[in-house]
Structure formats: structure tokens, C-alpha cells
Amino acid sequence: AQSVAQPEDQVNVAEGNPLTVKCTYSVSGNPYLFWYVQYPNRGLQFLLKYITGDNLVKGSYGFEAEFNKSQTSFHLKKPSALVSDSALYFCAVRYFKAAGNKLTFGGGTRVLVKP
């Protein structure tokens, strides 16, 4: 079984400050990990993914994430948050050996960036 936990329902940060959104996962074997962002009344937009290789992954809009196998974490980060980053963020996991590419999502973290 595979599962994802996003321990914070909401993260508040001032514009210009660093932003971190936490994600931990549980999967049998090596994971494929993804971050998506959802704006109001919109679908999910892909930000970045970890498949293999460098533990630090860079993605869209200045976001990056660090894969930590020992802590089974894949935290999303942005050095300097913008008001426009306010949205709902989802972490998702996929077990790489299983057939198909079904994603298991966390419950989401709402990010509020204040001016």
C-alpha cells in the first residue's frame, strides 16, 4: 500500500520569506514523488517530480523539493514566496514497480502568502 501525509492543513508566510510545505510518504520500495498546485476552481498543475538521481529537484515557478529517503520525506520549498503562490498544494506518490501510474495524493496544504 502507498500513502502520503501532509501534516499541515495550512501554512502562513509573509511575502519574500522562505516557504516550506511538508510531505512524508509510505510505499513499498522506491517511490516516484510529485508535487501539484491547485488554484481556486482549477485543476491541478504539475510543479515537479522525483524519479531518481539528485535528491534536490527543481521545478516550475521557482519551486524545488528535496527527497530524503531515510526520513521518507519530500518537502516542497521556495526561497522567496510571492502572494501569487497562495494556493492548495498536493503531494503525491507512486510505487515505481507497479503497473500503471495511479497517483496517491495527500490531503493538501493550503498556503497563504501575506503581503
Binding site: G43, L44, F46, R94, G100, K102, L103, F105, G106
Partner: protein, 114 residues
């Protein structure tokens, strides 16, 4: 290049009715997945279609069924609607069903069951 499109945008049905939602994948994509996103929750996987066959299925009852057409577009059908089926239904497409391929999501269909 059009992304994933879904229709209709919104839908209101009553309990016991049937509904069909439609999805056109991103150009060049051949795999379509459907997810249900209840209010305040993360998306839950319903099923995935590849080569016109259902390849994977999540923990959803048989009332949820689907189809994929030769042009890779897809339909999600829900029979005997329940109040609990009210949700945002998301379609996602990818190039092949390989595990490492990211999925691109459409804007969703908001279904309200009264």
C-alpha cells in the same frame, strides 16, 4: 496546444440519476485517469484507461464505469447517484501508463447531487 479539456464544467443531478462526464486528453497523450476530489480533500483515484481498456481501478463501486475511445478521449459514467458522489471530478492524461510519467489535469467537472 490544447491541454486536457473536460465537459461539462458544472452539473446538477438528483439522487438515483445517471451522469456522463467527458474528457479529451492533452495532444499526444494516450492514457487517461479519473479522480474524484471531495471538498477539502485530496483527489482519489477512480480508474485509468490505456489502449481502450481499464488498466487500474481504485476503491470505487461498480456504479462508476468508463470508456476510452480510439481517439484517446474518455467518459466517466456514474449510475444511481448518491449525495456522497457530489465532488469535483478530475481527468488527467499522460504519455503512456508508465509510472514515472507526470499526469496533466483538466479543470474538472463539478458534480452536485441533490
Amino acid at each position: 496546444d490544447a491541454g486536457v479539456t473536460q465537459s461539462p464544467t458544472h452539473l446538477i443531478k438528483t439522487r438515483g440519476q445517471q451522469v456522463t462526464l467527458r474528457c479529451s486528453p492533452k495532444s499526444g497523450h494516450d492514457t487517461v485517469s479519473w479522480y474524484q476530489q471531495a471538498l477539502g480533500q485530496g483527489p482519489q483515484f477512480i480508474f485509468q484507461y490505456y489502449e481502450e481498456e481499464e488498466r487500474q481501478r481504485g476503491n470505487f463501486p461498480d456504479r462508476f464505469s468508463g470508456h476510452q475511445f480510439p481517439n484517446y478521449s474518455s467518459e466517466l459514467n456514474v449510475n444511481a447517484l448518491l449525495l456522497g458522489d457530489s465532488a469535483l471530478y478530475l481527468c488527467a492524461s499522460s504519455l503512456s501508463a508508465l509510472a514515472g510519467k507526470e499526469q496533466f489535469f483538466g479543470p474538472g467537472t463539478r458534480l452536485t447531487v441533490l
